[in-house]
């Protein structure tokens, strides 16, 4: 009887240990997803957002990115390398065009092509209303590269996948690749 009691206690300890490991040491996939959840939370804007929250979110957005982040978009004028501070500033001014904004991510496909590099393909949906009262509802597929720096997954590259290419693809067009980082 005593033996069974000890076995049960042992099993309970093992289960609790596994649960604690899952809760307190989430796997890398969960950590990567968490960065997207934070990005979604900080980009989104409720209709009654106060100035303090607005400034705080603007500042927070920058912390999700590496010192330099590469953006590749079908609109060539938006493509390029942006500094963390620039991202915060641009995100802030972009948010100010909207009275309400909601960014959601779906269909995550996460791979780790190299140690401390994550490549994430996902669907991003942006909905909201501009300050002029115009409804916005845009969905795009994104390919993001995140790098683990000082135990934090940071965005180093974001590509808006151009599924339908109207224009001729330039010969110098190079796919966003984790090898660049």
């Amino acid at each position: 009887m005593v033996k069974i009691k000890y076995i049960l206690i042992g099993v309970l300890i093992v289960i609790l240990g596994i649960l604690a490991a899952v809760i307190f040491f989430p796997n890398e996939e969960k950590r990567v997803k968490k960065q997207f959840n934070l990005l979604s939370e900080w980009v989104s804007r409720p209709p009654d957002e106060n100035t303090f929250t607005l400034l705080q979110k603007m500042k927070n957005i920058g912390t999700l990115f590496d010192e330099h982040c590469e953006l590749k978009a079908p609109d060539q004028s938006l493509s390029g390398s942006y500094r963390r501070e620039e991202i915060s500033t641009y995100a802030g001014s972009a948010r100010s065009y909207f009275s309400q904004l909601d960014l959601k991510f779906y269909d995550f496909h996460i791979v780790f092509p190299e140690k401390e590099i994550a490549k994430v393909t996902l669907t991003a949906r942006l909905t909201g209303r501009s300050t002029a009262g115009e409804q916005v509802d845009e969905t795009r597929e994104l390919e993001c590269i995140l790098k683990k720096i000082e135990n934090q997954w940071l965005f180093v590259g974001i590509e808006i996948v151009e599924v339908l290419k109207k224009d001729q693809v330039p010969t110098e067009w190079v796919n966003l690749s984790y090898e660049t980082y």
Binding site: D107, T123, T139, V163, L164, K166, D167
Partner: protein
């Protein structure tokens, strides 16, 4: 794809059609636009290695004007000549009443074609 298919309507697609055979010109296809859930219905107007062009709303393939009876609304698009790349098709919607920059169309990889609508 108005007026052929209505915006937001429900359609069932036959996936094997694009899996085992090449899409033909004028086929309506479902294009995987984002993730596994966002699809667009578009019409194939050109296949790989063909040249596509719009002049005053008229479609030209390899320099020849193509009749498009499914286009019902007036269109004045102009798009310079471009060649469709390998393993790609050129797709356009039937509703071309909006300015060219507001319409989702262009070259897409065949791997993005998810089937054809059943009706």
């Amino acid at each position: 794809m108005e007026p052929t298919y209505h915006h937001g309507g429900v359609n069932f697609c036959w996936r094997l059609r694009t899996l085992f055979s090449e899409p033909k010109r004028f086929d309506v296809v479902a294009v995987r636009f984002a993730g596994s859930r966002v699809m667009l219905l578009k019409r194939v107007v050109a296949r790989e290695d063909e040249q596509v062009e719009f002049r005053d709303g008229k479609l030209f393939i390899n320099g020849k004007e193509i009749e498009e009876p499914y286009v019902r609304y007036p269109c004045n698009w102009n798009l310079p000549l471009r060649r469709v790349e390998k393993d790609c098709v050129y797709v356009v919607g039937d509703n071309r009443s909006m300015p060219i920059e507001n319409h989702h169309f262009g070259q897409t990889s065949k791997s993005r074609l998810m089937g054809v609508p059943l009706w």
